[in-house]
Subunit: 404 residues, 4 copies
Amino acid sequence: MHSTQNFPQEALPELLETYREFVKKELFPIDLQVVSGPFRSFLPQLETLRSRAKIIGLFAPHLSKEEGGVGLNLVQFAQVSEILGQSPIGHYVFNCNAPDIGNMELLHLFGSEEQKEKWLKPLQKGEIRSCFAMTEPAHAGSNPVHLSTTAVRKGDNYHINGHKWFTTAADGAAFTIVMAVTNPYAESPYHRASMIIVPLDNPGYHLVRNIPIMGEAGEDYLSHGEVKFENCIVPAGNLIGLEGQGFALAQERLGPGRIHHCMRWIGICERVFDLMCKRALSRELDLGKPLAEKQTIQNWIAESRAEIKASRLMVLDTAQKMQQFGAKAVREDISTIKFFVADVLMKVIDRAIQVHGALGITDDTLLSFWYRHERGARIYDGPDEVHKSALAKSILKNYASDGK
Amino acid sequence: MHSTQNFPQEALPELLETYREFVKKELFPIDLQVVSGPFRSFLPQLETLRSRAKIIGLFAPHLSKEEGGVGLNLVQFAQVSEILGQSPIGHYVFNCNAPDIGNMELLHLFGSEEQKEKWLKPLQKGEIRSCFAMTEPAHAGSNPVHLSTTAVRKGDNYHINGHKWFTTAADGAAFTIVMAVTNPYAESPYHRASMIIVPLDNPGYHLVRNIPIMGEAGEDYLSHGEVKFENCIVPAGNLIGLEGQGFALAQERLGPGRIHHCMRWIGICERVFDLMCKRALSRELDLGKPLAEKQTIQNWIAESRAEIKASRLMVLDTAQKMQQFGAKAVREDISTIKFFVADVLMKVIDRAIQVHGALGITDDTLLSFWYRHERGARIYDGPDEVHKSALAKSILKNYASDGK
Amino acid sequence: MHSTQNFPQEALPELLETYREFVKKELFPIDLQVVSGPFRSFLPQLETLRSRAKIIGLFAPHLSKEEGGVGLNLVQFAQVSEILGQSPIGHYVFNCNAPDIGNMELLHLFGSEEQKEKWLKPLQKGEIRSCFAMTEPAHAGSNPVHLSTTAVRKGDNYHINGHKWFTTAADGAAFTIVMAVTNPYAESPYHRASMIIVPLDNPGYHLVRNIPIMGEAGEDYLSHGEVKFENCIVPAGNLIGLEGQGFALAQERLGPGRIHHCMRWIGICERVFDLMCKRALSRELDLGKPLAEKQTIQNWIAESRAEIKASRLMVLDTAQKMQQFGAKAVREDISTIKFFVADVLMKVIDRAIQVHGALGITDDTLLSFWYRHERGARIYDGPDEVHKSALAKSILKNYASDGK
Amino acid sequence: MHSTQNFPQEALPELLETYREFVKKELFPIDLQVVSGPFRSFLPQLETLRSRAKIIGLFAPHLSKEEGGVGLNLVQFAQVSEILGQSPIGHYVFNCNAPDIGNMELLHLFGSEEQKEKWLKPLQKGEIRSCFAMTEPAHAGSNPVHLSTTAVRKGDNYHINGHKWFTTAADGAAFTIVMAVTNPYAESPYHRASMIIVPLDNPGYHLVRNIPIMGEAGEDYLSHGEVKFENCIVPAGNLIGLEGQGFALAQERLGPGRIHHCMRWIGICERVFDLMCKRALSRELDLGKPLAEKQTIQNWIAESRAEIKASRLMVLDTAQKMQQFGAKAVREDISTIKFFVADVLMKVIDRAIQVHGALGITDDTLLSFWYRHERGARIYDGPDEVHKSALAKSILKNYASDGK
């Protein structure tokens, strides 16, 4: 997804079709079972799928060929991301899942050579997993400048102390990137924090628990950790970029990250839409009278189709502009897609559940998994409210300055 | 809740306050833990609470004093039900939880003396639990006349065969009431089924599984069973009422049942509203700037308060009319509250989650439990769509017949 | 509607039925024509109807018998108000229309004997009309303390200067009550303004225009004036109450006023609902296939019925409490019904228009009149946003002070 | 807008900017006044603007250069249409307003040489206006096959009888195209009607009235006629295409017509959005505290921006596909944009009114005009309900046939 990458555009349709086939044939038959867990018991099977993905050249679509990937640019990857998003294990199998993909981007852009060698390369190959420790239970995530976690430089080391949660996939990860305050007296709160790599076998690091979320604590990749750093000592060389650059780097990380999330959500929408239509056609109220004949069901199908289409066009438009003009130029667009698509996602899932009736609330379909685990979509990476306010303020600021 | 019951109205406020105190002091501190399970490990503790409830005269509010209860009528009980609904273990502790309460009503009204002696009495005392097997996976629950389960009379027995699910609390129950086709050739499909009592130690009965619902299979009272009847033989005396009366009895059971559900949902709304307000006041975005200052949050609080108030007034109005004029007279009202309150419930829960941010999707509050386990509220006992159509058709029919 | 009034409760059902018949037989056949105007041309016809109302004892339902009215209390009047609201000329014919009813209440409670003799009595008899000049184009009505209109005491007179608009029914009125700043240096902005009576033949008063609103300027009672006071001199005896009491009196005026509006809106909802059902039954898509068979239409009918019912119960509950405990005790309830019912009103009208198709946007039914002229319901007497914030802040304040 | 047209793409941005300037400088200052009427009094002024548009090469953007137009293709014209839509007189001034533009397309594609000479050419030059008589008061427009208007061939003439309404801009038009049943016994109801040109000076044609719509009957171009054909005799040569082709031709006419409407609506949205933002910035609640600081207002601005963006991308995407693959290929897309954009339009207008407070419901801004006159957007050219059902059925049909 580096701006210089450019998988030949004319070959894209065929590539997309290949991904589509793989996901449909290899992942759809097993994904419900995998997410029903225990996740670890499926690791060998997932490893086999990753190997197959490598062999047929689909692995790590976002990485350059040199890095062992497919070499897609942002817009191309967005289209793959929608396809992978149709399965809850899609991004994982192709090694482009959050939070690893964000960490790969970060280390690729800002990591030292040593960091790249030690952490980035095995990550790109899918040999290890990583996580990202930012959110703290003591502070509202919607105002990220408030952090209590500190990293104090003592000699050649940082001494890190703090309490984080929603450290996605911490369980089983090899390292985390932690956001910690290094410069508490910097004038701007945006210049106080830094990103530091912490290997998770460090004795000062503790995984307190996999947080039970919406009925499941999960494990391994499918989990969100509550973690503590208690006098956790790491070499100063684990600092990414410079001290005080934490939020600047986080912005770089989040921009494309929101594109990825949005396209993944659209993938979910498509799978859910498909389940909804099939159920509407197959479930009969009376002999030969399927649910599909009910106008309310038709309304939901039509509205869902319209909203999904709107979502896709907006996200691809944003990806196109970001690729062309950079992340800063599309801040309004990013906020727009974040709250718009998250809302569509939850509405489509909700309608599909209603169409499924009792079956819809069981764990016998993927609907329940997504209803539960994507409720966070309206919260993480900035809740709806924050993005709406940010967008409006930005629009209004332009007005004021225009003298309009 | 029998129409003749009438706890002295002037003593009601104090009684309600006593329930309120009990729920707040005894249940609130433990209920999140109890529903996080395993449920069975809490049975002794819950038994202790039941004993205390009996001692202070709060047990079985719906039953007459002779039956060991408090002697409330429908409207009085509705008000208690709201209070108990604030805790997910409220109705259970006071032995007025679904599906037992419905079965008690049914057996009280239509059970034979023998059935009352054997099943109703221990149920009323809380010595056993029961369940109700109606919904079948093969048929849309929204059109209940389609049933494949059959009960064939052979000599003095019924031979029952069929496949049911969403048999709430089957795990650990002593008996189920099963809805089965006894008269397949009756002209009206509403006259084909009967209700029959099946003791669950019957060798022809099998609990296939506790259905995993929204992330949890649960156990004991907190579960929904998938069950099979395979040549399950019970004495003909286990028939409730007459052959072919199944749906007629079900209607009797459902009327007050929907009042109970709606008042329970309002109780949930109140607890959730309380959590939302407290979170809004305590969560700070910046020092001294709680979420509560945000107008969006204020909108949610105001809209929730309005909708909850509307819900309560409508349900109590319906209860009042049902008590006075009977269940038939309030069929439109019942449909109205069913879809209106279920919708309010889900909206209020959703807003509270959003106000809680990341915490809202964890299992560290009750929000996640209700978000998951009450999604069914818009589906069971008739999905929204069915009730809306039924209400509209009834209204329009009156128009047509009025010659208006 | 004075708290001491009490029309015999047992006679109420019959009285309501009499109003219902009158409205249906006398007003429904002509009201569309009357509001299509020109309004003045219908004044003789309306006068005849008022005479008839007086003769059969229905005139001025809110006034005591001594004042020539029916003697209803607030809750009783609310029920009449719903009935009258079904016709856009209902309240006018029975002389209980805004803004006259508010002015009658005000003068009854706070007017001097002289003011009562001169202004209140002819108002009560329906001999004159009045208006109320508060809102100013230069200030947001949602924060009423900002007023530029001043009334300066010079000797025995007030010299009034200012610019007002939305002075409802100014055209043809005999006097207005104007809200003007008399005490600009009072510490609290709530103590700066006063209410003063201005006869509209005063040379310092000018009706600039009847404001064109939603396509119509209207005239006479059916209009909203933009007015100017230019060195308008009135005797000091025209002050109502004391100097600086303006907002305190306005609150007294607004409390029951919002009940009246809400019940009138519910009346509109019922008429609109009736039109919607009839259209659904009579409009055929294909031979013998009326719109009423479409599930979307059924949904709208059901949702409208539910929302109207919720509205009525909430407003009557508020009226009951206000009657019993006073206006202050129900401030939260008043805010609640204001935004809840205004929203329901607009939704019901919108659905009915959609059911009517092209006919719905013509002026051939009352739908267009209400769609246009009730859009203001979400704005006047405090826009939705203000009431929601006010309600939420009040709720949250109780929390904070409870130490909850 | 003919598929072969192709204004040089590289010159488009400058052309769009020229339109933008023209609309802003020439139309914005007068449009509110013009639509406030009487419209005829503004005809000379509008004629001057048309002349200027011709001189600077902006007139008739949809026509080829040979026809005196700019030569835009569908996608290019769509972008111009959004700009013109920002003013309610935009399309009129540039002679690309409905229903004339539809009639031009129709005659261009299917008119005889004689018809083109006599009717099309003066229409293209803006010398005459036309109208289109299809909808009948006696039949639901949402099922257009039901028509009572007949055209009976007698010798060389058609004798037309029937009753139509919503014949837009009939007042002052030179001719109408009428949809009438010529082949009542054709098997398919879609093959029964034909399109016939009727000059409006025909003695058998009567303009019954300009229908009062949302408070205004309007006149001339700004009106919707109710018309009657009473033994109206026209030459057989006035038939467009063949007998029985009426609906086939109507489909051709409607496809691009819906694109035009949708882009016009987006133009309205942009103007309304602009008014909303300016009002939010300029209206102060307290000194220095503009409405814009309120989070509710910010939410509306953000949501409106998102929805407008989604609308534009979807309509342009549909236009692109229609241009490339023809109208049939985009039937689902057309239904999608029709209901989606109409809904967005009404929501954006409604929010802007609320932000404007009392001013929003006056006719002192364009908001009232659009609130009233665009309510029809959800009804004409197929109500929301019909498009949603059509879209859903089409989607589900593909499922069924896919054997998916």
